[in-house]
Amino acid sequence: MTVQDERLPATARIARHPIHPMLVSVPIVCFVGTLLTDLMYYATAEMMWANFSAWLVVVGVIVGVLAAIAGLIDFLGNRLIRAQPPAWPHLIGNLLVLVLALFNALIHTRDGWTSVVPTGLILSIIVVLILPITGWLGWSMVYRHGVGVARS
């Protein structure tokens, strides 16, 4: 099987499996988790929840950066992928998510209540509100435009 069998092959892949979709689930879960544990901390003032948030947002950012690198390689590696309508909004939206999450991770390094309330919690909410939009765009790239989809 050769590259020609795929309409829009991903460049960053392992055994013809695109890397970007493998990685994105981690930051998505982490950032949603951060919002949940932030809300728990807001409700209880129990430091354990703020500690969970701090780990989740940091791991989300680290794996998110890796996912972004894989995605960027696909984006730059294939002119046809770049040309798909959802590609640019997907990239810009997720870049915004990563920048906001990075700020959120730094806010979460503060000690005590203000590591979450209010700025951390607000950033967590904004990130989780953006994610369904960029996720929708990402899945459109795969399911509707066939990015990284093998034909056989």
Binding site: N51, I107, R110, D111, W113, T114
Partner: protein, 449 residues
């Protein structure tokens, strides 16, 4: 110069932090010395200003600088992290060499980063045996010890020492332990007896337990620092912490004598008023000029704010739930020493060796800052007292712990006055005990002012 890869990484990070925070907007540290320090608005950061003097140690022949009229010499070198000092009645000097207890399990990713940064600032290079007390004996009073012996070994992060009669008390990080002592002993081999346990691990954030006995010897006072910067390890971890405990020497029973003191050290009785005094390290990460560390007389039953408020009733928003009822009771301390100077040693001077200007006042050992770009502390200052109260501006007395490149040759911690009335300074990263006397130039101390 050898730089480990991590150290280079840390330096790079430091420079990056500097891009964000070099101009940390700090004001004149002197505006925060005295009874009414100026307190700026509280700030919170994405990256708090961090600047720690890298440890380079003392080269042969180097010493700290002293004010005119004084002379400084090393009393002992090659020690292992000496942190506090105690003079026995026969003139023997006890040097408490102590290392931090093992770190608790990591709770947050931040602790990994901060752990590296702190290790870079406090490790004086050697990792030899510590957690012991070394005895220095200078029989002829020439400032050169004739004998040096391991007085007590295998202690648990000790700090405070006090002798009452024949009972020698050592404040380990987790207990006050009593040992039998007879004048002239150079070594104690008897097993200690726990007088009272103290809040120790597994989390043991501020671990130095300062110790002093009441003038009549019936009570001991022990400083127990908080278990966090600002309760980020949870309130349960703060039980009996950020307090000065009063311990009944006969039974070991204790009560909280004063509370809200984030990290009280240098417990000492002021000679004229007879009041208990302490120096306190205040909270971090709310600005280069917040919160001023301070020295204060300690009133029975008083609450000094931590964690809910600072410098009286300035509420700290990082603590939840807040306690307006306690904030309403919080009293401001007596004398600010400027922000982040990290006072750990306090000694009132009633001797006659040093010039007369120093008599009756207090020396303060300032370990030095990390939470501001412009370094603060890293010196020993003198605060004049009259009628049992601070009566003027703090003056720099022993400086030069930093070199011209702001690298730390040493950092002062505990202070003591020896039998010849010289001032002793424990230098924990320089691994030295310094001895300050009047400059021996034949001029009488009084004429040298």
């Amino acid at each position: 110069m050898m730089l480990s890869p991590f150290f280079r990484f840390a330096l790079t990070c430091g420079s990056l932090l500097c891009l964000v925070g070099c101009n940390d907007g700090s004001g004149d540290p002197k505006a925060q010395i005295g009874a009414n320090p100026s307190l700026p608005e509280l700030q919170q950061y994405l990256l708090p200003p961090i600047h720690i003097a890298r440890v380079v140690g003392w080269k042969t022949g180097e010493t700290p600088s002293v004010k005119q009229g004084l002379k400084i010499e090393a009393l002992a070198t090659g020690l292992q992290h000496p942190r506090s000092l105690y003079t026995l009645p026969n003139g023997d000097v006890l040097v408490v060499e102590s290392k931090a207890p093992p770190a608790a399990a990591i709770k947050r990713p931040k602790e990994i980063v901060m752990g590296y940064i702190e290790s870079w600032a406090t490790s004086g290079g050697s990792t030899g045996p510590s957690n012991r007390i070394t005895l220095l004996r200078d029989t002829n009073g020439d400032g050169v010890p004739d004998t040096r012996s391991v007085f007590l070994d295998h202690l648990n992060s000790p700090f405070g020492v006090v002798l009452v009669g024949d009972d020698l008390y050592v404040a380990n990080t987790d207990a006050i332990v009593k040992y039998p002592y007879h004048q002239g002993d150079t070594r104690i081999t008897a097993p200690g007896e726990v007088l009272t346990p103290l809040p120790g691990g597994p989390i043991d954030h501020h671990w130095t337990k300062s110790l002093v006995a009441s003038p009549d010897g019936s009570l001991l006072y022990v400083g127990v620092g908080s278990n966090s910067n600002i309760t980020e390890n949870g309130m349960e971890a703060e039980k009996n912490r950020a307090d000065i405990l009063e311990v009944d020497r006969a039974t070991g029973r204790y009560r909280i004598f004063a509370s809200g003191l984030r990290n009280p050290n240098g417990l000492t009785f002021e000679p004229q008023s007879g009041a208990l005094w302490t120096v306190v390290n205040e909270r971090d990460e709310i600005g280069p000029d917040l919160v001023p560390d301070y020295m204060t007389s300690v009133k029975d039953g008083a609450f000094y704010g931590w964690p809910y408020s600072y410098y009286g009733q300035h509420v700290d928003p990082r603590v939840q739930p807040q306690r307006p009822d306690l904030v309403a009771k919080a009293i401001p301390p007596d004398y600010a020493l400027s922000s982040h100077v990290a006072p750990l040693g306090l000694a009132f001077y009633t001797g006659t060796n040093l010039p007369e200007a120093y008599r009756g006042g207090a020396f303060v050992g300032e370990h030095g800052s990390w939470n501001r770009q412009v370094l603060n502390g890293y010196k020993v200052v003198f605060v004049p007292f009259s009628n049992g109260k601070p009566s003027g501006m703090a003056q720099d007395v022993v400086t030069g712990f930093l070199n011209d490149d702001n690298q730390a040759r040493g950092r002062p911690v505990g202070l003591a006055v020896d039998k010849s009335d010289a001032l002793l300074i424990a230098d924990d990263v320089g691994n030295t005990v310094w001895r300050v006397t009047s400059a021996g130039d034949g001029v009488s101390p009084a004429a040298r002012l």
